[in-house]
Amino acid sequence: MKYEIWDDHTHLVEKLGPTPEAQLGEMLKFDDRLGISRAILFIGHFEGTYNLSPEQLRRANDVILRAIKPYRDRVFAYVYLNPKHTQASLDEMDRCIRDGPMVGVKLLVAEYCNKPTLDPIIDRATELKAPVLQHTWLKITGNLPDESTPMQLAELAARHPKATLICAHSGGDWEVGLRAIRPYPNIYADLCGGDPTAGYVEMAVRELGAERCLYGSDFGSRGIASQLGKVLGADIPESAKRLILGENLKRLLKPILDAKGVKL
């Protein structure tokens, strides 16, 4: 593969192995076949819920800490938080980012992301130089309870212009989601999730600029191939592909990796 590829969005898959580290090891074999050199890992649905209690947050993040331990040179992790439990979330940030190896924040479907309960979390993430990846979707069939939209993320970005926010899945309905985040330069588009529909990456580059686009696979919910095909098949310059596939994420993570003394 002629690109250095960093995958900004992966999950563990239980069927791949008996332990978290074994599951991650198997994921890396898929990465090897497609030339992916580094990945970001975080928990998704856990113990049957997205709305994790403080105790569940700790257990969930412990799974990820255990998984990455043998692969610290290759896999970075984001801490999973629940803004319904703000103080517990701040404590987890201290434990896993400030005092641990994690380098970012993952928010899923626990609370609408325009709620003020997120403000202390975003402030703390900004202090720690940690990007915040927020799941978003716009479903004509109806979103889940507490499932955020790109428009809600735009509200959050307006309140936190110095934060680095990543709009996971670009809202799913990307033709609308990309528009919603377009005015906010501190929001980056995560291009994974959804079918490999032609035009997606071209529109993201046209409307946001390649510097604001990130390749991710959503490994676990999907395979790697369909999402990688979006970028490799897009009608965009080679320089844009290099940015999307690796250089942008590397640039976003450099401050916190430098702070942790991680050499790339």
Binding site: L34, G194, A198, G223, A225, S226, G229, K230, D235
Partner: protein, 303 residues
């Protein structure tokens, strides 16, 4: 006005009578592909893409939504044969006109690459005439059907009748279960997902049918998928397969030779399909089967 009638056409009433009468015997007779204008001797190697579309997606312009551009892209990707339908089939009520245009475009722009897969909407009056033209006039090797866009369920008697006619005439049938993620549809164009539950029963009652389910693996999975594939000569394409270890797991579930390479280009990035095969641990024999051997066996037509 083009003359839609073949110079060697048989009487229409006689044609329909023959087609229906032959349905029951088709399985035992081992009906193969029609030896028509697109048939010639098989050749090995390359890719056979069983799911491409000409024309424009109704709600978006995409790269390669012109036939010459699509054909050139497919050739660059190593495709030597593509089974091509038209996005116009989804919403155009003049199916006959679309079938004629599709055939002409495949001949004019395809250069031997594109095999036209026409369509028939059995909910429209006199649909049997469309079927007759696909066989006799256009000499198509197969049909692609769109139950959700054409407004019928899979237990509809006319759907069963159409499958029977296709089996009798040796036409391969592609059944498109969906065309896009129903979560992302345009609010004014929400099309219900096709319920595949009746399909296994219909296939069992249609001897000789060669059926390929395209865009099916989002809605048809696990036991339901296995039941349908085992109900007859039924295959699936990988266009909407998107799972960890997806192709390997699919091959383990299904009988040999039932998984075909389909890209759903140009609406999907072609590279997504090729990377799915690359992503999974597969033997060389499995890769060959997916890339072309299984499709070639199903429709032994080549350049």
């Amino acid at each position: 006005m083009r003359n839609e009638r073949s110079p060697v056409t048989i009487d229409r009433r006689e044609f329909l009578k023959t087609a229906l009468a032959a349905t029951a015997a088709a399985g035992a007779a081992g009906v193969g592909a029609p030896r028509g204008a697109f048939a010639s001797e098989p050749r090995s190697g390359g890719l056979i893409d069983i799911n491409v579309n000409l024309g424009r997606w109704p709600l978006r312009r995409v790269r390669f939504d012109n036939t010459a551009g699509l054909a050139a892209m497919l050739r660059r990707q190593g495709v030597r044969r593509a089974w091509a339908a038209s996005f116009d089939f989804l919403l155009h009520k003049d199916i006959a006109g679309t079938n004629a245009r599709l055939t002409e475009e495949c001949r004019r722009e395809g250069g031997g690459l594109l095999l036209p897969f026409g369509s028939v909407n059995p909910m429209l009056p006199d649909w049997e005439e469309e079927f007759r033209r696909c066989v006799e006039v256009h000499r198509m090797p197969g049909l692609r059907l769109y139950p959700n866009y054409h407004g019928y369920k899979l237990d509809n008697p006319d759907f069963a009748k159409l499958l029977g006619m296709a089996a009798a005439k040796g036409l391969l049938v592609e059944l498109a279960l969906i065309m896009e993620d129903d979560r992302m549809m345009h609010p004014l164009l929400r099309v219900p997902v096709t319920d595949p539950a009746p399909l296994a029963g219909v296939v069992r009652q249609t001897p000789g049918l060669r059926l390929v389910i395209v865009n099916g693996l989002r809605t048809l999975r696990d036991k339901a998928l296995v039941d349908v594939v085992n109900s007859g000569n039924v295959s699936v394409d990988i266009a909407m397969l998107d799972a960890v270890n997806g192709v390997t797991d699919l091959l383990a579930q299904l009988p040999a030779g039932r998984v075909l390479f389909g890209s759903y280009a140009p609406l999907f990035y072609f590279e997504a399909a090729t990377l799915k095969v690359q992503e999974c641990p597969l033997t060389e024999a499995q890769v060959r089967a997916i890339r072309y051997e299984s499709a070639q066996r199903l429709l032994p037509v080549s350049t």
